[in-house]
């Protein structure tokens, strides 16, 4: 047993010394996860994708939506229902959902009479940075629309009329009312004839004034729906991590044979079973390490959440076991390193692709989803998704775990027997 562990440690050291193998085992899956994560999230230098829902149509709401739509910083999708907008956020197709409430127009009218307009914004909690940027941009556009309102003499007259009504209803003293009426009269004159005050004074006085406030709420991510695109892409990355590990170690026995070191091992006190156990152990450890690397990277960098830790542990262990079996089958199939790597690439690449390595399982067309059942990568990715955003329980997890365990048992039993015959 100790000898097999030393053999596994030696293989892991060799893997780390082989830059190409280490790259494809550890870096490439991470790169794939990041690539697909960004591709699906659309978080590039393009305009912010925003969904908008207008509760009640009004000239002020229409003006705001038009301004947002015409602003180069946004790519706006107006939805008919709030739920549809939230769905866009959940799917990562929008950074947030802007809700223009029914009271918005009234708020704009009362902007100088103690009210002010309110907007709602629902953001993806995993994209808070973009959400903050979005709030800033909404403030900017909303501010412009309020000024447009004030700059229009007809609209501004309506605002002043509202103020006059409020003043009548108030219990202010006569002197206060007189002072306010004088100011309003002056403002009415300014809106029709132009201001004679300095621009600087106006800007300063407006600096602290916020005519529109934005109430921000974080969207609660429903179980069964990925929090963001990285929740999908990092589980996809696991497929490529397993691909790299199986390919590296699958050719390990052929490599030992070709370089003559297998002879040394066979002449040592190690039995052939111990040698093969050492090989499988190295593959198992590497699969496990890369799986957890991706899970932790997803968690800490992109708020990918593990919904069930014990199941996640089980998933990674069983997946590593299953793919160690696949590694052994690959090792049994070919005597040369070139043969193993060539055939391994061809077969595993197809299996990884139809198993969710490129097109995520959730986006697969029905026929591909059926075909993916043949791929062990599908069961690995699905199990990992089950322990994260799918929020599966044990009963749902049983099938993928059973499939992976069966693959492991079959691969290690048959593969070991075949390799033993060949050495």
């Amino acid at each position: 047993m100790r000898a097999a562990v030393f053999l596994a440690l030696k293989d892991l050291r060799l893997l780390m010394r082989d830059r190409a193998a280490a790259f494809f085992t550890f870096v490439f899956p991470l790169a794939i996860a990041l690539f697909f994560g960004y591709v699906f999230s659309g978080t590039t230098s393009e305009p912010l994708r925003v969904a908008a829902f207008v509760e009640q149509s009004s000239p002020a709401a229409t003006m705001l939506i038009k301004a947002l739509d015409e602003d180069g910083g946004f790519k706006l999708t107006v939805t008919d229902a709030r739920a549809a907008g939230e769905q866009l956020v959940r799917r990562g197709e929008a950074v947030g959902l802007l809700i223009v409430p029914a009271t918005y127009a009234e708020g704009i009218d009362g902007v100088f009479s103690g009210g002010g307009a309110k907007l709602g914004l629902v953001v993806d909690p995993s994209r808070r940075a973009e959400g903050a940027m979005l709030v800033g941009k909404i403030h900017e556009v909303a501010f412009r629309t309020v000024f447009a309102t004030v700059g229009d003499p007809v609209q501004f007259a309506r605002v002043l009329d509202r103020m006059e009504e409020s003043l009548k209803a108030s219990d202010l003293s006569f002197t206060d009312r007189l002072a306010i009426r004088t100011a309003m009269s002056r403002a009415r004159t300014m809106s029709t004839k132009g201001a004679d005050g300095s621009a600087a004074t106006q800007s300063q006085s407006l600096a602290d004034w916020k005519p529109v406030s934005v109430d921000i709420a974080e969207l609660s991510m429903r179980p069964g729906v990925p929090a963001n695109s990285f929740a999908i892409s990092f589980m996809q990355g696991i497929a490529w991590a397993l691909f790299g590990a199986v390919l590296s170690f699958g050719s390990g026995i052929a490599e030992e044979r070709q370089r003559g070191t297998l002879v040394r091992l066979l002449v040592s006190p190690m039995s052939p079973n111990q040698i093969l156990f050492g090989k499988a152990l190295a593959c198992f450890v590497t699969c496990l390490a890369t799986e957890w690397m991706l899970v932790f990277a997803g968690m800490f960098l992109f708020r990918v959440e593990v919904s069930h830790w014990p199941l996640m542990v089980a998933v990674t262990l069983v997946t590593a076991f299953g793919f160690s079996g696949i590694m052994m089958l690959l090792a049994a199939g070919f005597r040369t390193q070139g043969g193993t790597q060539g055939a391994g690439r061809a077969v595993l690449l197809v299996l990884a692709m139809i198993g969710g390595g490129t097109v995520p399982l959730v986006f697969m067309p029905p026929f591909l989803r059926v075909a993916s059942n043949l791929s062990p990568f599908k069961w690995a990715v699905m199990a990992a998704e089950g322990a994260t955003w799918r929020s599966w329980g044990m009963s749902e997890m049983l099938l993928p775990l059973a499939v992976l365990a069966a693959i492991g048992v079959f691969g290690l039993t048959v593969g070991t027997a075949l390799v033993r015959r060949s050495i």
């Binding site: 000898a3 010394r17 082989d18 370089r259 003559g260 070191t261 002879v263 040394r264 040592s268 006190p269």
Partner: protein
């Protein structure tokens, strides 16, 4: 120490080893000589337990069959191919093998062996950076990590520089002096003549002759050739007693130069097989 009795091993219709029998004793260097395809490597693979013989028996000391774990602990093998991990350093290679063999203090053992083959200053260098001769020396050291008593060296000096060749031969001689049994295969007759206590000539899977170098030459090498140059010309004589022939030529007078061509293992091989060793 190594007892081989009538072993046979065929691959399909080809008999790679065909009824080979020999013994190798402690402190002895036993040479297996023969051209490529003679069956030397198959004989070694069978004696080290890599291959099971179709028939016959092999015993390693008291431990019995080389396929038994107890016997494998006594066997040290330096394969013909450089069997090392090129991406690891010299020390890492030896430490790994020492650990596989369960050697206590593997690093110390690795450094002892590196010192023995003159590679201690390069202990931390990757094998990939070594010359062919240095790799051969390390290949030999790797066979010795577990202090084996039955050592099989398959062409250990193939393609090495003279300096490494000398170093390897010195180590092999030292191993025999320490009381180990060494089986040594080679193409190089001069090496065999220099270090082998006994030699078996193999061809087409069979042992054609076995004995000390002197015995083989005496039995199969034929006569020495004495060439006497004189004013009258060159005179060549085949004889079993070349010194007597030289004495006679000198006594007759007129000899300006005398040369002796003694038979060697190459001639033994030629006599036994009808072809040269490196044909």
């Amino acid at each position: 120490m190594i007892r081989v009795r009538d072993i046979r091993k065929s691959f399909g219709s080809i008999a790679a080893v065909d009824g080979v029998t020999f013994d190798v004793h402690r402190g002895e260097i036993f040479g297996l000589l023969g051209p490529n395809g003679a069956g030397k490597s198959t004989a070694i693979a069978t004696c080290t337990g890599q291959l099971a013989p179709d028939s016959g028996s092999i015993e390693i000391g008291e431990a019995g069959s080389p396929r038994a774990a107890r016997a494998r602990a006594l066997i040290g093998l330096a394969p013909q191919q450089i069997a090392l991990y090129e991406e690891l350093t010299a020390r890492e290679n030896l430490v790994f093998l020492a650990r596989v063999h369960g050697i206590p203090e593997p690093v110390r053992r690795a450094d002892e062996l590196l010192d023995m083959v003159g590679l201690l200053p390069r202990a931390r260098d990757r094998v990939a950076t070594f010359s062919g001769g240095m790799q051969r020396r390390l290949n030999l050291a790797a066979a010795l990590v577990h202090n084996p008593t039955a050592i099989f060296l398959d062409e250990p000096t193939a393609g090495v520089d003279p300096q490494s060749r000398t170093a390897i031969l010195d180590v092999v001689q030292r191993l025999a002096n320490e009381g180990r049994a060494v089986i040594y295969t080679t193409h190089y007759m001069e090496e065999a003549q220099r270090i082998c206590s006994r030699v078996a000539i193999m061809d087409r899977g069979r042992v054609l002759a076995i004995g000390t170098v002197a015995e083989l030459i005496a039995e199969h090498g034929g006569d020495s050739v004495v060439t006497v140059d004189s004013l009258a010309g060159e005179h060549r004589v085949r004889t079993r007693e070349p010194l007597r022939e030289i004495e006679r030529a000198l006594a007759e007078g007129g000899a300006t130069a005398v040369r002796i061509e003694q038979p060697d293992l190459e001639m033994v091989f030629l006599a036994l097989t009808g072809r040269r060793l490196r044909d």
